[in-house]
């Protein structure tokens, strides 16, 4: 009797098969869509990466050129050349008795060479490349998770106040 009732309410076998196939296809389609989206983002990333690569190449070549020019400038402004040029122009080194000394308020003498601002966060690379192009999926998920967590905490603290 029980078996008969079960059989009475059972779906037709072809319907079950269709449902199963539909479920499988749904999963496949979802994976396909996710993969498609991911591939689209990856292709965009790759394009951006290629541009970065090109810019890095340019930076490298510019750096090399800067090095060359720096060396050239150093040679042109070397002590011996500058001294010779100064003499050609009629200048001579001041002798001890020729100097006149005056106090200039706010002037503390020549400043020691500063080669950089001293702030590593100002480095060009960190400004140009956004984190989206450098962080992994897991890093991004963790970042979002901590952001949500922080928002919750802020809300709780706000409620306490």
């Amino acid at each position: 009797m029980t078996q008969k009732i079960v059989q009475a309410y059972q779906q037709a076998p072809w319907r079950i098969r269709v449902q199963r196939i539909a479920a499988v296809l749904l999963v496949v389609v979802l994976i396909g869509i996710t993969s498609g989206v991911y591939l689209y983002i990856s292709s965009q990333s790759a394009e951006a990466g290629l541009m970065i690569w090109e810019y890095e190449k340019e930076i490298k070549s510019s750096k090399s050129r800067i090095t060359e020019l720096q060396t050239e400038l150093a040679e042109l402004t070397s002590y011996s050349r500058m001294e010779a040029k100064a003499q050609e122009m009629g200048f001579h080194r001041i002798a001890k008795g020729e100097a006149k000394f005056i106090l200039v308020p706010g002037f503390y003498g020549r400043e020691i060479a500063r080669l950089s601002e001293g702030n590593p966060m100002r480095s060009g690379e960190q400004i140009v490349i956004r984190p989206a192009y450098t962080q992994s999926l897991s890093e991004w998920l963790y970042q979002k998770y901590t952001e949500v967590l922080n928002e919750d905490q802020i809300m709780v603290e706000g409620a306490r106040e």
Binding site: W14, R17, I21, V24, L25, V28, I31, G32, S35, Y38, L39, W53, E56, K57, K60, S61, K63, S64, T67, E68, Q70, T71, L73, A74, E75, T77, S78, Y79, S80, E83, R93, I94, A95, K96, A99, F101, I102, L103, G109, R110, I112, A113, R114, L115, S116, E117, G118, N119, P120, R122, S123, S136, L137, S138
Partner: protein, 588 residues
């Protein structure tokens, strides 16, 4: 549902499943590759080391003293050459452009890839110029064009497989200026002497390893090589150049074997100049054949009477004498079995400690050391770090140990000899560091050559180091005043500088050889600092074996005077009365 439909559906599903699985796997692999790929690949066959650009070296005001120049490493990609079978063509073209031996290039180009322990890349020329590389590029294009237009030609008539990689080598735009301080870096990356050797790790940076790929242009910009750290030295280029000119001329005029002239800020230990003669040209370092690259740090000698300043400062600090303590010079003083005499072997009669210094009396200083006591005397010398390294940040510093009563070689007779700077060996830089205590209110500062270093956008300054305080501020002021008073005496007429009160002392030292002192050959030195009431510079001059005269008062005093006359202009130091008036006006 028939069997055919089911199997088609199963096949399609399996295909999608496998595709999804593969995409997922690939995604996971890409996202997690940092877990299993090392950040810097190890050096393995098939990898090429790329050296970062060496950091630059500047003087204190930003003038470049050591720069870099781009050259090219022309290499042979053996994978591509083996595929194209064009070793002969490459050897013919490269030997012509790079002026190399044809057979040598051919042997390299025809090496089987992966042989010789996994070699895939060979260097044809390490230092090709930009013009040579341009010529190679033109030839490559020409050959490629010919090969594409003439179908009968195969790849063996191309130059596929030639690669080049830019790299930098050191150049010194100031040539020999400050070369004794800088040292040099060879095109092969070996740093020798001076700053280059001492800071080699910082300057050279961290090399990276690049994989040799199976395509042309293997060294394209797909890797990042951060430059090494740059250094800002304490050296002032203008002062260095002026001091080099002075010491060069002094060595020549006096027929000396070598000369040293060191200028230091006694308050900070900043070396403003360290001039030595002769000097190397670091752009042609192979031509320099001298034993000593920088005698200011790598050559010890008996300093003679300049050393008396430490004996007198110690005795004053210990309270054994004052500037006015009287002494009767009878022309000889005996310690142990040795009787010490003055430089002129004469008796100078009644003296004070100030006139003892002015007249540089050995007899008087031997008595002072005896009064001070053996243990006290050597404890003070140790406090002045005599016989110990200054740890200056330059490669190649030498140290001669100081014999004290604890050493087996020490004898009581050494007390007298040491009191006036004989039988004790020092380098000029040791003398400068020890004297900084006298010029800087008792605080002895470590000499330094690097003011700051810059790496990856951050500039870090080095700090001033007070090594020790061997004497009190009061004793330092007393000895400075004594030496500035004695500078006004007759002995120092050649060194007197109008308008400036300077503390100073000459030194004429005999030179030992084979256990005895040489006749008619001396080392002549001068140490001085000023302005006496607020020292801004400390100067040490040494001429080895001058032939013009044996006495420092005649040889080095005029050099000292010229040095100070130049320094006060270059350092903007007004005469004492002008300076005091200016300060007085400021206070008003």
């Amino acid at each position: 549902m028939n069997h055919g439909f089911r199997s088609r559906l199963g096949f399609t599903s399996a295909f999608f499943y496998i595709m999804a699985l593969l995409i997922t796997l690939q995604t996971v692999r890409l996202q997690t590759r940092w877990l299993y790929e090392p950040e810097v690949p190890a050096e393995t066959p098939g990898m090429v080391q790329v050296q970062p650009e060496r950091g630059l070296i500047y003087d204190r005001y930003g003038h470049i003293l050591a720069a870099n120049k781009t050259v090219y490493e022309v290499g042979l990609n053996l994978n591509l050459i083996a595929k194209a079978q064009n070793a002969e063509t490459i050897a013919r073209v490269l030997s012509q452009i790079l002026e190399l031996d044809y057979n040598e290039v051919y042997t390299k180009a025809s090496t089987v890839p992966g042989s010789e322990g996994g070699v895939y890349y060979k260097v044809a020329e390490h230092f090709a110029t930009g013009e040579q590389v341009d010529q190679i590029w033109e030839n490559m294009n020409e050959y490629a064009k010919r090969a594409s237009s003439d179908k009968e030609l195969d790849e063996s008539d191309t130059l596929v497989g030639i690669d080049w990689m830019p790299k930098t080598i050191r150049v010194y735009p100031e040539n020999s200026l400050a070369s004794n301080i800088l040292g040099y870096d060879t095109p092969w990356g070996d740093a020798h002497f001076g700053v280059e050797e001492n800071y080699d790790t910082l300057l050279s940076g961290t090399p990276v390893y690049v994989k040799v790929q199976d395509s042309s242009h293997i060294f394209e910009a797909d890797y990042e090589v951060p430059s090494g750290a740059s250094l800002v030295l304490t050296i002032d280029r203008d002062i260095q150049a002026a001091m080099e000119k002075i010491i060069d001329e002094a060595v020549e005029d006096n027929g000396a074997e070598l000369g040293v002239l060191v200028v230091m800020d006694p308050e900070t230990g900043d070396l403003l100049a360290m001039a030595t003669t002769p000097r190397a040209d670091p752009n042609n370092y192979t031509k320099f054949k001298e034993d000593s690259y920088n005698p200011a740090i790598d050559r010890s000698y008996e300093p003679g009477s300049v050393f008396k300043i430490f004996t007198m400062a110690s005795a004053i600090d210990a309270g054994k004498v004052t500037p006015n303590t009287s002494f009767l010079d009878t022309g000889g003083y005996t310690i142990g079995k040795q009787t010490y005499q003055n430089w002129d072997r004469m008796a100078w009669g009644p003296q004070t400690m100030t006139t003892c210094m002015e007249n540089s009396l050995n007899v008087c200083l031997a008595w002072v050391a005896d009064e001070l006591g053996t243990d006290n005397f050597y404890n003070y010398l140790k406090a002045f770090r005599i016989g110990r390294s200054t740890n200056i940040d330059l490669a190649g510093e030498v140290v001669w140990p100081l014999w004290t009563p604890k050493d087996a070689q020490w004898q009581i007779e050494l007390l007298g000899a040491n009191s006036f700077g004989q039988s004790v060996m020092v380098t000029p830089i040791q003398m400068v560091m020890a004297a900084s205590a006298l010029a800087n209110d008792g605080n002895m500062v470590a000499p330094r050559i690097v003011k700051s270093y810059e790496y990856n956008g951050v500039q870090q300054d080095t700090s001033v180091t007070v090594v020790n305080t061997p004497i009190s501020k009061k004793s330092a002021r007393t000895i400075t005043n004594m030496l500035s008073v004695s500078m006004e005496g007759e002995t120092y007429q050649a060194a007197v500088i109008d308008g400036y009160k300077i503390a100073g002392k000459t030194g004429t030292a005999q030179i030992p050889e084979d256990g005895r002192y040489l006749e008619d050959v001396t080392n002549t030195s001068f140490i001085g600092w000023g302005p006496a009431d607020d020292p801004k510079f400390l100067v040490y001059i040494w001429l080895e074996k001058p032939t013009s005269d044996i006495w420092a008062s005649l040889v080095v005093s005029p050099i000292f005077k010229r040095t100070i006359n130049e320094l006060v202009v270059l350092m903007n130091i007004p005469p004492d009365d002008v300076r005091q008036n200016l300060y007085a006006n400021t206070l008003e």
